[in-house]
């Protein structure tokens, strides 16, 4: 697959209360971002298990991000801090196994931040496009 026609597959684990709301807001505001992003809704970003992140890569995702509430605004008090920690840890694993931690990110996006959601989605897609397909997809 050349990078020219490479369309990254990206999974976004979004918390119900903020990031998913921000995605809806981006819709309401008719902001455009690439359709590469597909969202899996979780009650809280703190529910984003390392298992979920790794499974996405195993299934052939080229990039994954976890998006929760702004720090200090978590609907479940501090679930987003747990998520942050876990993402950090998962990045290390990804580095170790050669997938590269850069393919994973953590974002904090409040409900009304439709523009931020669209920006993150666009920038992340672009970043993964630059990084090229995940090594798992190269075969």
């Amino acid at each position: 697959m050349t990078s020219k026609n490479f369309e990254p597959k990206i999974v976004a684990y979004c918390c119900h209360y903020c990031a998913y709301g921000a995605a809806d807001m981006a819709g309401t505001m008719r902001l455009e971002y690439p359709p590469n992003i597909k969202i899996i809704r979780l009650p809280c970003s703190g529910k984003a298990d390392i298992l979920y992140i790794l499974r996405a890569f195993e299934d052939g995702a080229d990039g994954v991000y976890v998006a929760g509430c702004e720090e200090g605004s978590c609907h479940f008090i501090r679930g987003n801090f747990r998520a942050k920690k876990r993402v950090k840890y998962a990045k290390k694993i990804l580095d170790e196994i050669g997938i590269r931690g850069e393919r994973l990110e953590m974002h904090n996006i409040s409900t009304s931040s439709g523009p931020k959601f669209a920006r993150v989605a666009t920038e992340f897609t672009e970043k993964i496009r630059q990084l090229g397909p995940s090594p798992i997809n190269k075969n």
């Binding site: 309401t28 597909k38 298990d49 605004s73």
Partner: protein, 1543 residues
């Protein structure tokens, strides 16, 4: 009254109103929310972030919005106004006006309407910084998500148009290039767009609001442009509409008759026009020359009416040929008698009958009818004609008749009708043999002399003169007896054109007599006039000047001084009553004549009028006739004067009217070619763009055309409803101070000065600039911003009180702005920073230390603007030095005022307002208004922040429900569903419903393709698409299909589950399915809306989203809820003022309550008090509370009692208490716990307290004042002792008020006593500011100190007390010897707080006070379910605030205690005991401290307490915890479904 009603009306749907409604509805009452705006949410919805947590306002509020919107027992009455409240507490009748929103409940909120709406307005939600359409929802998350059309009064142009033609509608469409839609709109009202576009006298333009600015919009020109479109394309095909059996006779084929015919035929009637002349058109044909109204235009529009199916009988004079009764005999059910006013008015001067004297109307008629110009028609050269017959079909007016050649039947020879031919030339172009030529006028002029005088000043005079010029008269003069100003001719330019064409105007001259020679006119004798007094018409009446007679030689006089009804054409058999002026007498509203079934209007009834007036008459007649035939009241609803809209034009950009091109003067000679040449498309659009659409919606109906749900009704009327409620809560909120009132700050003058609420929208990611901080003048990111505090607060000229919230919100805005725009330097100019709330002071400190925000203590006197850069220059004084600083932007921190229409509301509700215009309450009954049964919450009683408003909301809910507690559950409805089908063991049968959302989804996503795709997914047995999944009929289909196809999983591929999941879950429950057997695929918000330019990509993504949902659907399971019985009793810990109030409120609500106090007596710190600020008697309050408690049958008091142990959970706690010295232990069972353990006074160690007897605390001072033992000439008070210092950084909130209260007491005892208050900031927030002012007035000296200049006390050698303090104005230290040094010592957490917090697993703040669940929206709840918090245990506060919070805990407690059972379960964590190793990970990570390790050594997660976040599940090393509905296998299935494309 015994018949109490178990319902409450909440007026105002802001955060306070919503919270009250939820608490009431959740504790068994029916709630109505009355909201003035189209959606609930109030001011909080507009905020970006909230202090001091920086939470996104919408994030924390949206779930509440949804909850209110979906609550089965909350009824939203939005876009409505209160009319009146009658009745008494417990049983009120409330009348409400539901304003017309023009969109009904079928609205799905899809927004297709707004997308096509061409009208844009400044968006109120963004304070005018952004735009919204005339059809709108206030903000994207609005509840209800139902659109509203903004119509604020009738458009002035429409109101002025006699026929009410909706100009803004078609003009707006034209401005957007939608010409044919525009034509359609005009034609619905007016059958003559091209005619009226040319000849109308344009009363609309006179009323155009643009007159205030730069002249009216060229309404007629635009109309003409639109009407003339039909010249190029055939008329819009009219439907065959003859649906009625009845027929109507129209007498007279002029504009009135034709219009009535048009309207009636469209109503379905058979219509026949009886016309006395051989042609239709009446005065439009006879009276208006062709250079103003070309004949083909007239023919085309008349033909358009006839095409609708109107039949015509020409040459028939009613009264001569037929009688009126004949018409009824013919079967006509009604007659419209519109014969016009066709006879010229005589001048009544000698010589009028001479030859050469014409009546203008007859002259014009002859010219127009072609009697004079006989050959102005197509002429066929029969020699050249080949008889091909092509000319006849080419003629658009059917003026050519073909006669077959007798010899050769293939040849047909044309005959041109002289009346119908317009000389247009279409036939000539079609003629292959060039046998048709168009004849001119040159050799066919009528005999008009060289010198013509036209008498009159109206349009007819101008038309006549201009016609005469064209007919060859060399010397044409209009003679008018008044001056040009009085000329009735309109429009103005017509006079100019007339003059340009060579007509002379002779003013102030009248004919005295005409003198003839041989019977023919020769000379006239004229007399000059002067203008005298105003006459009845409002014009100055002409008075002859004696001796000014003179003679003029003329060939012709043409009299154009008006017309009268020519009843000469009728006979006396027409027994229609007449007026003294000879017109027909009619009822001006119903148009009825004295004969039954005969109506009249137009010139026949009003004398010579205008075309549009006749059209209006025709329309009214049509309505009357329709009503008459149908037996409906003719008058009903017809004489209502609508409210006329107005527009503020200040600040609007001027746009010059687009000039229409005229035929050059030299090309007008000797012909009747049209003078006005019309607009081009571009010109029409440009001119249309000037319309201000004054009344809001332009009535262009684009929205209705695009609404697939048929939810829009432009004719919707307001509706009055009446509801019965037991009590009323007023929580209408507040209004921001209008910064423009403080002119010195340049708001609205300087573009970079914004108000704080505007800045809030600028900061908001969903705001006009998507959260980019920018200047309004140039869009540049500001580097420096000044925040000016107290705009409209603490101000002699506007509001005296403090608005309480501005300091904090400015700090917040400064912080957030800096976060948005790193490097930004905010600078806050303030008088006192009033950071008095919980954690506020820390926030203030952070703003200075972490964010480096500048604070300057100075009230800025005004702002100047640099006109070139639009920078703002502020001169201020800092530490006595004059400074000048330049800022990129200025934010005015506007205060809070009583809400919009507070006075009106108070009158309607019958409650009193206070001196500030807010709702009047008393100190210790903060929720009670002057009218029993009506309560007040939130900022309507005093400016306050969100936490206080929310606490108030719960408190007032408790109050409002106490009086109707006997009616709890009487009016609420529980939705019942059929029994759930057990789907275990069934093969998966999935139904997928794909939504088109009108065109929101289907215009981007290929819905049929998605449907086809879904059909092939495993387990899917049913797929279909629908227009709106959320509409009633689709819900029905869903239930039917679920049953028919035996579905056991349902997927809706539509919008977002955040708003719509509950709806669909309820739908499948009706089909007998567990609500959790449901999944959604968000193919709108996350697909069609965000990939609108990538249809293919969006369609593929939609398929993937559906596939993911199907993948998960296979694994989802029904989830059941368990019912836990509730012990309907409360436990209040702490018997101070908060605890006592909480117990009383709960008891009043009908719940048994235990009140536990560790002291021997109730009262807490209130027992040490004598006066509460401002000067309320504390012992009286204490006594009243204690007595009430003792007498209350539901309250059981345990004094001298301690809490030993607490177990159980929400709904059923078990508390062990120990009385006395621990010998007597007992167990209490209860459903909830209220913590009201209070706080303590800080015991000072500073300022020689305890070392010198002259150093006392405020409480000591209060005691000595009360006992009358105070004796001091000089009292010095030091504020913030033990508060706002290194150890305790928080503010104790009440000390400023206490100090001022004591200072005032001292001054009232002896005004000579010197009182000095040393302070950091005086924090007399809200209405307490009054006492600060009063103290200053009484001579209390306020001296500021800061941490670098703290006062120092000293005991001198003689044992005297000396205090050295810094005087900031003098910039030096002063020493005084106070007789009393009074320390305002702050508050510290209660002893035992830590132990209690450990026992109950309750969190505390870093300062050691209890920590509520959420600072903003759950201010009296603990995160631990079933536990609540009030009073000083939460944070220091005034007694009345503690009491309000105590009520709030009762309101919150009632939501649990009122229920027999609590439902627990659903999507929560569940432990698989076999896998659990008891490793404590879950215990450690749970944000709510729910998991514990049970006796079995495995984790136990209480279902009633788990919040379902899933943090434990993700961290559990053994994967022994799963969150139901988000189980690992379910989430992973989605992941696999997405990426591996497996289902």
């Amino acid at each position: 009254m015994d018949d109490k009603v178990g319902a409450v009306l909440v007026v105002g749907g802001g955060i306070g109103g919503m919270q009250s409604a939820l608490d009431l509805a959740n504790s068994g009452f029916k709630v109505f929310i009355l909201e003035r705006s189209p959606a609930i949410g109030g001011k909080m919805a507009q905020l970006d972030k909230t202090f001091p947590t920086n939470d996104c306002a919408m994030c924390i509020m949206a779930p509440k919005l949804v909850e209110v919107g979906k609550h089965p027992n909350i009824e939203l009455i939005t876009y409505s106004e209160l009319i009146e409240i009658t009745g008494d507490a417990g049983n009120f009748k409330v009348k409400i006006l539901k304003k017309a929103r023009y969109v009904d409940e079928n609205c799905t909120g899809c927004g297709s309407c707004a997308e096509v709406c061409p009208v844009e307005f400044p968006n109120e939600f963004d304070i005018g910084l952004g735009k919204r359409h005339a059809i709108y929802v206030p903000f994207p998350q609005a509840v209800p998500l139902q659109y509203t059309i903004n119509k604020h009064g009738m458009q002035p142009c429409v109101a002025e148009c006699p026929a009410s033609v909706g100009a803004p509608g078609y003009i707006t469409l034209v401005s957007h290039g939608k010409f044919y839609e525009a034509l359609q709109i005009i034609k619905e009202k007016l059958p003559f767009p091209s005619i009226c576009g040319r000849v109308c006298h344009r009363p609309c333009e006179k009323k155009c609001e643009r007159n205030k600015l730069d002249g009216p919009v060229g309404i007629a020109h635009i109309k003409r442009f639109v009407g003339d479109l039909e010249l190029n394309i055939p008329a819009i095909e009219a439907p065959s509409v003859l649906t009625r059996a009845e027929s109507v006779a129209i007498v007279g084929g002029g504009p009135a008759g034709l219009t009535a015919a048009h309207d009636l035929v469209l109503m379905g009637y058979h219509v026949r026009i009886y016309e006395s002349t051989p042609v239709l058109g009446g005065m439009m044909r006879f009276g208006i020359p062709r250079f103003r109204l070309p004949k083909e235009i007239l023919e085309r529009e008349i033909t358009g009416i006839l095409r609708l199916g109107v039949s015509v009988q020409l040459n028939t004079t009613i009264g001569r040929t037929l009688e009126i009764k004949d018409l009824f005999d013919f079967g006509h059910k009604a007659v419209f008698f519109a014969i016009g006013a066709q006879k010229g008015k005589p001048m009544k001067c000698p010589g009028e009958k001479l030859e050469g004297v014409y009546q203008a109307i007859e002259f014009l008629k002859e010219v127009n009818l072609g009697k004079i110009i006989k050959t102005s028609i197509a002429k066929i050269d029969m020699d050249a004609c080949t008889g091909c017959g092509l000319c006849a079909p080419a003629c658009i007016y059917n003026a050519i008749e073909l006669t077959p050649d007798k010899e050769n039947s293939k040849r047909q020879y044309p005959l041109v009708s002289k009346y119908m031919c317009t000389n247009c030339g279409k036939c000539a172009s079609a003629c292959p043999s060039k046998a048709i030529r168009l004849s001119g006028f040159r050799d066919t002029y009528p005999r008009i002399g060289g010198s013509v005088i036209v008498v009159g000043g109206g349009n007819a005079a101008l038309d006549t003169a201009r016609t005469a010029i064209r007919l060859g008269a060399k010397n044409v003069t209009i003679m008018y007896r008044r001056s040009r100003e009085e000329m009735p001719a309109e429009p103005d330019w017509e006079i100019d054109e007339t003059e340009l064409e060579g007509v002379k105007l002779l003013y102030c001259t009248a004919i005295k007599r005409a003198i003839g020679e041989n019977g023919r006119l020769k000379t006239i004798v004229c007399i000059k006039m002067k203008l005298g007094e105003l006459d009845k018409s409002g014009r100055r009446s002409p008075v002859p000047i004696p001796g000014s007679e003179h003679t003029i030689e003329v060939d012709n006089i043409i009299l154009a001084i008006g017309q009268v009804v020519n009843m000469g054409t009728t006979t006396d058999e027409v027994n229609l009553e007449r007026t003294p002026w000879g017109t027909l007498k009619i009822d001006p509203i119903t148009m009825e004549t004295n004969m039954k079934g005969v109506f009249s209007g137009g010139d026949a009834a009003v004398g010579s009028g205008t075309v549009i007036g006749a059209v209006a008459a025709g329309k009214e007649a049509a309505i009357s006739i329709d009503r008459y035939i149908n037996g409906i009241d003719l008058r009903a609803g017809r004489d209502i004067k609508p409210e006329i809209a107005e527009v503020q034009v200040e600040g609007l950009k001027k746009k010059r009217k687009v000039k229409m091109k005229y035929l050059p003067i030299e090309e007008r000679e000797d012909n009747f070619n049209e003078v006005e040449l019309g607009y081009t498309e571009k010109e029409a659009m440009k001119e249309a763009d000037r319309c201000l659409t004054c009344g809001g919606c332009a009535d262009c109906y684009e929205c209705s055309r695009n609404c697939e749900a048929n939810a829009i009704h432009h004719n919707m009327e307001p509706e009055e409803i009446e509801i019965d409620v037991g009590s009323v809560i007023l929580s209408p909120g507040f209004k921001e101070f209008d910064a423009a009132r403080k002119k010195e700050y340049g708001y609205e003058r300087f573009s970079n000065v914004v108000s704080s609420i505007e800045f809030e929208r600028i900061l908001s990611a969903s705001g006009p600039f998507a959260g980019n901080v920018q200047r309004l003048s140039d869009g540049r990111e500001p580097k420096t911003i000044a925040f000016l505090q107290c705009i409209g607060s603490r101000d002699e000229k506007t509001n005296h009180y403090c608005s309480s919230v501005c300091c904090m919100y400015s700090i917040k805005e400064a912080i957030i702005a800096q976060e948005h725009s790193p490097g930004l330097q905010p600078h806050i100019f303030f008088m006192d920073i009033r950071a008095f709330g919980k954690e506020f002071e820390d926030y203030y400190i952070r703003a200075q230390d972490e964010y480096g925000i500048n604070f300057t203590r100075c009230r800025v006197p005004g702002i100047e603007e640099d006109p070139i850069t639009n920078d703002l220059i502020i001169n201020y004084v800092e530490d006595g030095t004059r400074m000048t600083k330049r800022f990129d932007m200025v934010v005015l921190a506007v205060g809070l005022e009583a809400p919009e229409k507070a006075k009106e509301l108070s009158e309607k509700a019958g409650v009193d307002l206070n001196e500030y215009g807010f709702c009047d309450t008393s100190q210790f009954t903060p929720f009670e208004t002057s009218r029993p049964g009506i309560y007040v919450g939130g900022a309507f009683s005093e400016p306050k922040d969100i936490p206080m408003t929310v606490a108030d909301a719960s408190g007032v809910a408790a109050k409002a429900s106490a009086i109707i507690s006997s009616e709890r559950h009487s009016l609420v409805t529980e939705k019942t569903y059929p029994p759930e089908r057990d789907v275990r063991g069934e093969a998966t049968r999935i139904g997928v419903f794909v939504c088109k959302c009108g065109i929101n989804i289907s215009s981007v996503v290929n819905v049929p393709e998605v449907v086809e795709y879904a059909k092939n997914l495993q387990g899917v047995v049913y797929v279909d698409w629908n227009t709106y999944s959320c509409s009633q009929d689709t819900q029905k289909t869903m239930i039917e299909m679920a049953k028919e196809h035996h579905l056991n999983r349902v997927i809706v591929a539509s919008c977002t589950p955040r708003t719509h999941e509950p709806l669909f879950q309820s739908t499948i429950q009706e089909a007998g399915l567990n609500p959790h057997l449901f999944e959604m695929a968000n193919i709108r918000d996350q697909c069609s809306w965000v990939h609108k330019n990538d249809h293919e990509g969006a369609t593929e993504k939609a398929k993937t989203l559906v596939r993911m949902a199907v993948a998960k659907a296979h694994l989802i399971e029904p989830l059941t809820k368990k019912e836990l019985p509730v012990i309907p009793k409360g436990l209040v810990i702490g018997g101070g003022v908060a605890g006592m109030s909480a117990a009383l409120e709960m008891g009043d609500q009908g719940f048994d309550t235990y009140l536990v106090e560790h002291d021997r007596k109730l009262g807490g710190r209130l027992r040490d008090r004598f006066f509460l600020p401002p000067n309320q008697d504390a012992p009286i309050l204490l006594r009243s509370l204690t007595e009430k408690i003792e007498e209350h049958p539901r309250i059981k008091v345990f004094t001298d009692t301690r809490i030993i142990d607490v177990s159980g959970h929400v709904g059923h706690f078990k508390t062990t208490i120990s009385r006395g010295d621990g010998k007597e232990e007992s167990e209490l069972e209860h459903g909830i716990i209220v913590i009201a353990t209070g706080a303590n006074r800080y015991k000072p160690t500073e300022y020689h307290y305890g070392q010198h007897d002259r150093v006392i605390t405020q409480i000591d001072l209060e005691a000595s004042i009360a006992s009358g033992t105070i004796s001091a000439d000089r009292v010095v008070m030091i504020q913030c002792v033990g508060s706002r210092d290194e150890v305790r950084s928080y503010c104790s909130r009440t000390c400023c008020g206490e100090a001022i209260k004591n200072a005032l007491e001292i001054k009232s005892i002896n005004p000579e006593t010197e009182v000095i208050i040393l302070y950091k900031d005086i924090r007399t927030y809200g209405f307490r500011e009054k006492y600060y002012k009063e103290a200053a007035k009484m001579g209390v000296i306020f001296i500021r100190y800061d941490d670098d200049h703290k006062p120092v006390s000293e005991i001198t050698g003689q044992g005297d007390l000396e205090l050295t303090m810094w005087e900031p104005l003098l910039k030096r230290y002063l020493s005084v010897k106070p007789d009393l040094l009074v320390l305002s010592n702050g508050m510290v957490p209660q002893e035992g707080t830590k132990e209690l917090s450990q026992l109950l697993k309750l969190p505390t703040t870093k300062h050691g006070f209890f920590m509520e669940a959420h600072m903003k929206l759950r201010p009296v709840d603990f995160a631990n379910s079933g536990m609540f918090l009030c009073g000083d245990a939460h944070s220091p506060k005034y007694v009345e605030e503690s009491m309000a919070q105590a009520s709030a805990t009762a309101g919150r407690a009632a939501t649990i205690l009122s229920r027999p059972f609590l439902e627990v379960g659903g999507s929560i964590a569940r432990v698989n005991e076999e896998d659990c190793a008891g490793c404590l990970t879950c215990v450690r990570v749970c944000p709510y401290s729910v998991p514990r390790i049970g006796e079995e050594g495995v984790a136990i997660i209480d279902e009633s307490e788990c919040q379902g976040c899933g943090v434990c599940a993700s961290e559990c090393p053994a994967k022994a915890i799963q969150v139901l509905h988000f189980k690992d296998n379910q989430v992973l299935a989605q992941c696999d479904g997405m990426l591996l494309e497996v289902v």
